[in-house]
Amino acid sequence: MIELANISKNFGKVQALQGVSLSAEAGSIHGIVGENGAGKSTLMKILTGFTSRSGGEILCRGKKISLDRPSDAMRFGIGMLYQEPLDFPQLSVLENFMAGEAAFAPGQARADLARLAAAFGFVFHPDNRVETLTVGERQQLELLRLIHGGARLLILDEPTTGISERQQEQLFAALRRLKADGAAILLVSHKLEEIDSLCDTVTVLRHGRVAAAMRCPFDRQALLQAMFDSLPERLSPPQTATGKEPVVEFDRVVVTVGRAGLHEATITVRTGEVVGLAGMDGSGQAVFLKIAGGFLPPESGQIRRFGRTLPNGCGCSRDVAFLPADRLAEGLLPGMTLREHHILAARGHIFLSAATGLAGSRRAIDDFNIKGHPETTAEELSGGNQQRLLLSLIPDEVRLILMENPTRGLDVQSADWTWQQLHRRKAEDGAIIFASPDLEEIMAQATRVVVFYDGRIILDTPTAATDYHEISRAITGEAGTTGPSDEVGRSGLLPD
């Protein structure tokens, strides 16, 4: 039904997609898998007209089409279910169902919604506000809306993250039914189980290119190998010098922020450890780091840092450093110079002159090899230099370093250098916890690996005792230790 030929996309100098071709047939489900940053989301956004492409062609029923804006995509019957539903929380279910349709007929829409919901086994109260619904229910509503709007090609982006088991079953049943009705479905997922049970064909993306294309039944081993870069079994094994003292202790910590939240996380990180957090984006690692840093209070459960319980579970202190993934938006102060960053990070200096902190800043710039001078502003630095700046801002007394994607945007040499610095910085009585989409990095740098899946810790093991395959299987949900999901609809709308 839809064919993508040689699609490419670059953001500035970064090549996000390169010559990607795939086709979605009517009456079939096509899976798209790949690591974080493999280009899945960009590809889907091009298909829905949210982003423009840099090159290549899109064919709909054999005819070349241009997709410049979402309304174009709608005209060709392309509809997408976004990972974070793009709906209107304060509007009612019925209004969400109708928004964007050409005709306005609430009575008709109400009947249509009831008919469609009944057909798929969903339950909705049309007059409830959408903000009272669970993510799964919001997704069901979006699905019905797309079908009602005449979508013949449905794109689903990680649809099962954060929804209950029952909702997942309902969704799969709905997808199978739509397939039987002749719709084309593109399923973006990292869960191999889903791909196995639903898809007829699958395309694997890696680094913006098609790494493999397969038909059902799939060879799991081959899929995994195509998804992740192949690796030597063991890199230089990091020395394990785990101390006795606990640095961070999580005791059944629960939060519902983000798509997956964090589900009863219990873990103790001890001095000397370097813990690598693996998992697909939004599986709980980011939330875990925010809680550990004291930037997000847990909804239940307890957190102890250096043996002390945090007041209200929240509070930052000077012995913890946090390096966020979105450096400019969360970690740095755009518009302020490097010198000013260094002044703020250091102690002392009540009164400032143009020379204050200049020497310290110069030293840090030299030590950390930042391409800039003390009066460069943070946003003028490249991504890699921003990361080096963040590293140079870590105060000396820090005992716990928390990081998201520590080496994203760095070339191999700077990444190596960064890790040398980090290992050097790590105090005898401190620890490092970092999340990374790069398994190679985790295997090479961490003494302990923790894998998150859907807000749960699915695997927690010393690096020496595991291997690359076990981790990549855990990331895709195959550790065999996933407990039954016990999330239920908050609004109580779903029958048991």
């Binding site: 930037f295 930052c316 000077r318 450093a321 946090f322 966020p324 938006a329 969360e330 970690g331 740095l332 102060l333 755009p334 518009g335 302020m336 000013e340 002044i343 703020l344 990070a345 200096h349 009540i350 009164f351 400032l352 002159s353 801002l393």
Partner: protein, 350 residues
């Protein structure tokens, strides 16, 4: 090529921007006057005569410049912290009330100088508390500082009316013309022939210098800026965004309160319902036109004060309404916003 290089020089681009903004605003107003059959040149001459061309008139300009500068300094603190302190008008009023509280007492038993000093300290505290209340409402009550501040402005206005018409009314008569005049020795001393008290001028200049130092040359100033730029990142530097914002509000409100106190002690010598004369709102326009930077503020304050003082001559000389000053001020700010927006679009940020 040379030419293009020249145009890209920051000094040139700043100068070009200022002239485009001024040209747009003054050209627009000039065109309007022209279509109405009024000569813009006459207007210009009248405004200049009424403001800078006589020493006595210039004294009047300075009496406007002082509260305007104080309020603008206060606003620089809050804007740096990323807060839109629209409640500044109420803070001026509250400062005036706080100063009057002390100045209208007849037998305090303190020397006049001490009373005056105390009254100004009290006006700083009064304005600061009123602003801190808006900040508290924001931090704890989820009331956006814009709506909270606006509401508190009107509450302060109601309070001042109640005081003047109620408890503090002139013996026998409650009148909108204000409270009883203060005792003569509690007026901020003005040398003969002067329109303003030198002490007020000194206070305003000190306040500006202190603002420049605090914001530009202390760790505290950096922390305020960090809070305004990115509260999330500021927390990583150990800064508490809520507390820093509250402190910025309090200081900003204090300076506005001080402006109100000076209005009472050295301009009117009593409490009036319109004690703020809208200088708080005018200061918001000043700081917006300065694009939230410190350096242009005194000059813009002077320009606005000249317009305000000179426009008093318009009804007398040309039989025109004095509100033309406000038209020019507003037109400058709107064209500045337009030019900044167009530049943003040109840079591809939209």
């Amino acid at each position: 090529m040379r030419y293009v290089q020249f145009m890209k020089h920051p000094l040139f681009s700043r100068f070009a921007r200022i002239s485009v903004i001024a040209g747009l605003a003054l050209g627009g107003v000039g065109l309007l006057l022209f279509t109405l059959g009024i000569s813009p040149v006459d207007i210009g001459v009248t405004l200049a005569r009424g403001s800078i061309l006589s020493l006595q008139k210039f004294g009047h300009v300075l009496t406007i410049w002082i509260p305007l500068l104080l309020c603008s300094c206060g606003l620089l603190f809050t804007f740096r912290a990323g807060l839109w302190n629209i409640g500044i008008e109420g803070q001026v009023v509250f400062g005036a009330i706080a100063a009057t509280l002390l100045l209208r007492e007849e037998n305090l038993g303190l020397p006049a100088a001490a009373t005056l000093i105390l009254a100004h300290i009290l006006s700083f505290i009064g304005g600061g508390l009123w602003a801190a209340f808006a900040g508290f409402l924001k931090n704890r009550g989820g009331v956006n500082e814009i709506f909270g501040g606006l509401g508190l402005n009107f509450v302060a206005q109601g309070l001042i009316l109640w005081l003047i018409l109620g408890p503090w009314k002139r013996a026998g008569v409650a009148s909108m013309s204000g409270t009883e005049m203060f005792a003569r020795e509690l007026w901020l001393s003005t040398p003969p022939g002067w329109r303003l008290a030198p002490a007020a001028l000194v206070i305003a200049c000190i306040a500006f210098a202190a603002t420049a130092v605090l914001l530009g040359a202390t760790r505290f100033g950096l922390q305020i800026r960090a809070t305004g730029i990115n509260p999330t990142a500021a927390r990583l530097f150990g800064i508490h965004p809520g507390r820093t914002g509250l402190l910025a509000m309090a200081i900003g409100g204090g300076l506005a309160g001080l402006a109100g106190g000076l209005q009472v002690s050295c301009v009117y010598h009593r409490l009036l319902p319109s004690i703020s004369s809208g200088y708080g709102y005018l200061a918001l326009l000043v700081v917006m036109l300065a694009h939230y930077r410190l350096r242009p503020v005194p000059a813009i304050c002077l320009f606005f004060a000249c317009l305000a003082a000179g426009s008093i001559q318009l009804p007398i000389v040309l039989k025109l309404d004095s509100s033309l000053a406000g038209v020019i001020q507003g037109a400058c700010v709107v064209s500045a916003l337009l030019v900044h927006g167009l530049q943003k679009r040109q840079r591809g940020e939209l």
